[in-house]
Symmetry: C2
Subunit: 149 residues, 2 copies
């Protein structure tokens, strides 16, 4: 079980460091001066799944609805999302990503890839396989944990 403890500590440290790296502005990747990781997460959802309601986004991003409200306001001011008319229930609204939004998303994803791929350079191919196996499982466990909240 000592191995397991070691793995958890490593996991913890590394995911913390990686998230900080991700948040770090400047240093060659100007996109993240304009957009936050959470904002990228939101427009990525819109890009993948199409127009969504704030309530749905709050569930997917595992965050309070007022956080989404605020996030959408900022994204809208920058012209990266737009409201679309929806028929039916007049309480719910729908947002979708704009052309400009798709552009900034593309830039952000390239920056992320650039920034992170150096981390895996020295890893052997068979270890990459193991990595994917492990992380696919860990991700499932994380999702399961989220649903229990």
């Amino acid at each position: 079980m000592d191995k397991l403890k070691e793995a958890i500590d490593l996991f913890n440290e590394v995911s913390f460091m990686a998230t900080e790296l991700f948040h770090k502005k400047g240093s060659a990747y100007d996109v993240f001066k304009e957009v936050s990781p959470q904002q990228v997460g939101l427009i990525k959802i819109l890009s993948l799944y199409g127009a969504s309601s704030p309530g749905h986004l709050a569930i997917v991003q595992q965050v309070h609805k007022s956080a989404i409200s605020n996030r959408l306001k900022k994204l809208h001011e920058k012209g990266w999302v737009e409201w679309v008319d929806s028929e039916g229930d007049k309480r719910t609204k729908l947002v979708q990503i704009t052309e400009d939004g798709e552009e900034i998303l593309k830039q952000a994803e390239e920056a992320i890839y650039d920034r992170f791929c150096g981390l895996f350079e020295h890893i052997k191919d068979e270890d990459v396989e193991a990595f994917i196996r492990i992380f696919t499982d860990v991700k499932e466990q994380l999702k399961k944990g989220e649903r229990e909240d």
Copy 2:
């Protein structure tokens, strides 16, 4: 190279989700209602390496010195760190962790362990080995990246 891209995307998603899980207050782990992850990081450094100066902490935590100043103020108000007199240069100050600080650190680390060990339950032993190998390397790369800033 497709495998690599897959690994990076997974890594990204998972470290983001893990950090969010870590930040999530409430849900069974009350310690994190009282202390933030960054604050835990700081007192952990103090616990491991003894009394340190704000400037040094800023370098270790890779953060602006004013962020450390603020963090120490909060920790001091709660009685988890204390100033110690230092001889020599009267500009630099030294902080160290208190008994209460050690206690809250212990609680936080237990909570973290509890929260994360479920994630690795289903991983095979040989995959845990691979995981440790990979993450040790990735951590090195991340550290190298930090030093370059």
